[in-house]
Each structure stands twice: as C-alpha cells, then as structure tokens.
C-alpha cells in the first residue's frame, strides 16, 4: 500500500486553491502543505480568507480552482471532490467553528457520543442490532463512553458531563468543541480561532492541550488564530494570508521577521513593539519538544 513516495507526502497538500464568490476573490492561488504530527498555524488580518480556506477544506464550499489532498494510512483523498460528511467520516478531517457550534440542548456527554456516530452506527447494525439490544452495540457504546470520558478528563469537564452543553461557561464550550472534534478520531484537526474570547490562563491551557494532542495523538493540527501568544508558542509552521494571497510561509522564527508579514499584518510602524512583545514567546517555544 505504501510506496516510498508516500513517506514524503505531507498530511495535507493545498495546491493552487482559489475561491471566488461572484466577482469577489476570497482566496487567490494559495498553495501550502501541512505535516503530520505538527501544528500549522494560518494567520492573517481579518478578511484574509482563513475561514474560507477551512470551509473549502471541510467541504462546506467547493473550491473554484485547486486541489486539496489529504494522505494518511497509505490512502489519499481529494477533498475538493468529496461531500462534507465524507471528508469528516472517511478522510478524517475534523473541525471546530469560529462561533461555537455545539448541540446546545443535549448533554455534554451526548455531544461527544454523537461525534462517534459513524462508528456507532456501524456497530448498531444501522439501528437494527441496536433496536434489538444486541451485545455488539452495547460494547461499542461502552467504548464510546470511555473515549468520551478520556477527552472530558483531558479538557477538565468530567464533572459537567451530564449538564446541558448550552449552559456551560464560554471557555468550557470551546474546550468541549475541541474534545468533540477529537472524539471523531481525526487525522487532521482544523481549529478555527480556538482561543477567541478566552482569558490568558485559558489560552495557556489551550496551548498545553494542543501540544498534547500533537505529541500524544500524533495527528496534524491546522490552526487559525489571532492570539499571537498561542500561535508563536506552539506552532511548528506558519502560513500568512492577506487579501486571499499567501504572503509568507515558514517556521515562526522566520515568518516573524519577514518584511512582507510585518508590513501587511503587524503594521509597519508598530513592528518594533510587536516584536518585543513576541520575544519571550520565542523563548517559550524553543523549550518545547516537537514530534
């Protein structure tokens, strides 16, 4: 199944991706790749096309031009040709949303069980075995609960497992959404501004959680984030978008000194002060191991 080239194949390869809405070009010929076991951050000012990129990746939009390839476990999927639910179920690309989309009326645990739908559906014999109460399904459900418990433990929500998801505090909802995405056992996790609205302590916890996911679950993480303390601390690779174009691409240490980035993103005049603020982040990053 695996040929020698596959080892060189990145987890996600985006080639010449363009997305047009009528006359508006949201993404213009963007190419980059994201490696397995690494956190790739996509940054850029508001309206740079980051979320549009995610929507193309996860099948909510069909790109106008370009190719999106996900390769893992010896298989390769062309995402631009797949339906959204198959991208999640088969190509194992999970995502979270910029404005949290939990199943608010259902309990926290149920949210995590629904995330394991595809697996459980098969175990329940597409409902028939489940209706009859066969042991196959009960076993599968127990396993699903155990997985949910593991992730609840990871994000510190075990105590709240039976509460309605919609009644959780904001930060907990963010963490639950990540736990839910992880319960679907993805190979590529796409996080759309997971630190938005979190306080500094919660942001720091988030960084720990994301590095844990990368190092222990050995999956690729694609991260859209405005919070530079998080981005600079944990990402292995940065892609900078501006007005739908890629303006820079590389390790954080390189990107932060890229004049194009400083001009477009940080602002020409304030570059000095921004740089100072980020200096300590670099030190933090260097202390961490990568996989």
């Amino acid at each position: 199944m695996t040929s020698p080239q596959d080892f060189a194949e990145p987890l996600l390869r985006v080639e010449h991706l363009s997305m047009r809405f009528g006359g508006l070009v949201a993404i213009n010929d963007v190419s980059f790749s994201a490696q397995d076991c690494a956190i790739t951050a996509i940054i850029g000012p508001n309206g740079a096309g980051k979320t549009t990129l995610f929507n193309c990746l996860t099948g909510f939009y069909t790109p106008s031009v370009g190719r999106l390839t996900v390769s893992h476990s010896g298989h390769r999927w062309l995402l631009e040709r797949m339906e959204a639910h198959r991208i999640a179920g088969t190509a194992r690309v999970a995502r979270t949303f910029q404005n949290i989309r939990l199943f608010g009326g259902m309990s926290v645990l149920e949210n995590l069980i629904v995330a394991q739908h595809t697996k459980l559906m098969r175990a329940s014999g597409f409902t028939l075995a489940g209706l009859l109460g066969l042991p196959v399904y009960r076993q599968a459900e127990r396993a699903a609960v155990e997985r949910a418990r593991y992730w609840l433990d990871r994000v510190g929500l075990v105590e709240m497992a039976d509460r309605q998801a919609g009644t959780l505090p904001y930060g907990a909802q963010r963490r639950l959404e990540i736990a839910r995405a992880m319960c679907s056992e993805p190979r590529l996790l796409c996080l759309d501004e997971p630190a938005a609205g979190l306080n500094p302590r919660e942001s720091a916890d988030l960084s720990v959680l994301l590095t844990f996911i990368r190092d222990h679950h050995r999956i690729g993480v694609l991260l859209i984030e405005h919070d530079m303390s998080v981005v600079m601390a944990i990402s292995d690779h940065l892609v900078v978008l501006d007005y739908g174009r890629k303006i820079s691409d590389g390790p954080p240490a390189v990107v932060r000194h890229d004049p194009a980035v400083i001009r477009a993103y940080l602002g020409e005049d304030e570059s000095e002060s921004e740089d100072d603020a980020n200096g300590e982040d670099r030190n933090r990053r260097e202390g961490q191991g990568s996989c």
Partner: protein, 471 residues
Amino acid sequence: MAGLVALLLTLPLVGLRTVEVQSRLTIEPHLAEVAMTAFLVFLGRLGLTVAASGLPGPVLLAALATLGAGWFLPFPTEALRVLALAGAAVVAIRTLWALYRRQDPRSQQERDRSLDLWGARLQDATRLIGPVAVALALALPFLPFTDRAVLDLGILLLTYIMLGWGLNIVVGLAGLLDLGYVAFYAVGAYSYALLAQTFGFSFWLCLPLAGLLASLAGLTLGFPVLRLRGDYFAIVTLGFGEIVRIILLNWGDLTGGPNGIAGIPRPSFFGIADFTATPASGQVAFHQMFGLQYSPLHRIIFLYYLILALALLVNLFTMRIRRLPLGRAWEALREDDIACTALGINRTTIKLAAFAIAAMFGGIAGSFFATRQGFISPESFSFIESAIILAIVVLGGMGSQIGVVIATLLVIGLPEVFRDLAQYRMLSFGAGMVLIMLWRPRGLLSHREPTILLHPRKSATQQHAEAVGAP
C-alpha cells in the same frame, strides 16, 4: 385608539350583513351594532389601562358587574353578548392577575423558573405516571362507568396520541417542521381500504403493507424536499399534504373521489374469528370462541386494545431509538446541522430515515382509522388534521413523549368533553392555545432528559436546581 381600530375592523365584519331579499343578495348595514362593539372594546381597553396604572380593584368590580349584566340584560344580538362576556372575563382575569402579581414580589423570570420546576417535577413523576397511565388504559374497558362513548373517545384519543408520537420523531427529535403529516395518514388509510377491497387482503396483512407504502411515500417526498431548510421545508410539506388530498379527491376511478370508500372490512380477531353476530358457515365468531354473549361492544374493545398496542409500540420504538446513534443524530441535527456534517453525519440519510419511519407510523395509524370508521373520504385528511397533530406535539413540548399524551388530552379530549358548549368550544380551544403559548412557550414539558449519563442519574428536579444555580 383601540375603539378606533375596533371600529375599522368591525365595520365590514359586523356592520355589513348580506341578506337575501327576493333571491338577491343585498348588503344591510348594522351601524348601531358597530357602534356598540366599538364602545365595548373601548371600555375593555380602558379597563386594562386603568388596571395597569394601579387601580385593579375597582376595575375588577366593574368587569364582574359587566359579566353579570351580560348574563341577565338583554342584548340586541347574541354576538354582542358574547363579546361583552368574553371581554369582561378577560379584563377580570387580567385584573386578578395584576392583584396577584402585586402581592407576589417575584420577577417574571423567577415565575418562569418556578413553572419550569413544576414541569421538571412532573417529568420526574412520569416514571410513576407512565406505568399507572398504561395500567389505567388497559383497565378502562372493564371499569364500571365505561360505555360505548367513553371507549370511542378513548380510541380517538389513542389515535391522536399515536399520530402525535409518530410526528414527534420528525418534529420533536429531528427538528423538521412537517405540516403535511396527515398525507401519510391518508396514504395508510387508502392503502388499507383499497388493498382490502380489491385483493381481499386481511387487516393483519394490510397493516404492515400500509406502513410500508406510507414510508415509501415519505421517501418519495423526502428525496427532493430534504435539501430545503426551515420555513421552505415546512411549506413544501404543507403542499404535499394538500397534493395527496387533492389526488384522492380527483382520482375518482381509484379512490371514489369525494364519495370516499365505504364498506371497508372490519378487522378480525387476529384472523381467527370475526366480530359478527351470525358468522358464515364453517367459521367461528369471537363470542362463540370464548363462550360469551354476543355484544357489539366486543369489537370496540378489541379496536381499543389494538390502537393502545400500536401507540405503545410507537412509544417503545421512540424511547429506544433515542438511545441509539440514529436517534442521537436526529437530535443533533435539530440542534445544529452544520456541526453534524462536520462530524461525518450524512444529513440526507438521517433525515430520510426520520421521515420514512414517522410516515410508516402515520400510515399504520391511517389503516387503523380506515378499519375503525369503515368509511374514508378525503375530508378526513384536510390540513386542519395536520395542524392539530402538530399542535399536540408543539404544545406537549417538542420531543416529550408524556407531553404528547397530556396535550392530546387537552386538545382532543377537552373539546369532546365540552361538546355541550357548541360553537364556543373552538373559541375556548383557541384561548387555551394562546394561554399555553404565553405561559409555556416551549411546550408544557420542555425539560429534556439526557439519553446517557456519565454519573449516576439525578432527578429532573435536581438538574433543574443545578441549572438555576449555575451562572
């Protein structure tokens, strides 16, 4: 101001009346009545305003006086009397409410919460109520006061409960607003009637066949429609319901058109014995088989148990499926369909499953309806039926099984019980609906029980207390 609005509204409604004069329609003005109507409305509005501005006591007295006057004084027309009575009653209730609220220092939110708490308590009690209600339903035919009328009412209620539970799958669980549910009911009824009359199939063979055909109809409708969302979806289902009715009305060769189908075979006792006084030669009738005196009530009792069993079957199915991935996916779909897609759930198949299963139950209920009535016509499947079933589901609290039962008792049971009130029973029905919408906008029982728990279960009351206590 209100008087002016009322004047404008009543002028065409009350003021102009068509009267047949020498086989010609002419319009006859009734200006005095218009003036009185407007005056009454003005009085009522004045009462409300005064009551709101802090004088509920005197207004209450005045309203009660009007109420009394309405009973005894002669009014020029019956309509005016009703208006005066209803208006006075509303004002009286509002003032009483204002008086009560004055003594009650709690805010609106707190009051809502206390109502929620009652809902939660009731839900806790349902684990007791459920079996008791089933036992009561089982024993009903043998209770001393039970006669034909009570049994017929019971059958009617159970039919609507079954339909309500069926529609609850689509509306309550999957969150798809289906305004044409009665179409599947009709498909089921006509499938049974036609299969039984044309091919002589027995009821017990037709029941699953009718369910199958109805769920096929559900799939046929589902494929093109399920891409739509929200209001658009509701409108198309509404259209589908009407299409089915109009086809039934116009396809005279097959369905008998507006004449309907009469002489639909009655069900037998599981294909073994018939419910007849004089069985055909070589066959045994039900009463002979059990050595009973013949009574036409036997069949009614049998039908009653039949629909009870069918309804309980639907309930059992729903309770089970809520704990299965399919049921959880339905609820997730109701909550957020985009997130569902992002988790690898195929929206179309999940929705189709909900639609087909609900349609199947509707079809089974329909074939029961056909066999009970012995006669069906398109009139039985008009839009108002869909609306009533939907009202039952919504009033009961979306997705709540016991809520459907309570709502059926209210929506179907009360108008039946108050048949003596003649034309005002629908008025009171409407008033009841408005009151429920005001007090319990999310349905009578809106508390949702999680289908799986990590920690040992708590009662709904405790959960409610926690939810209130949480920030």
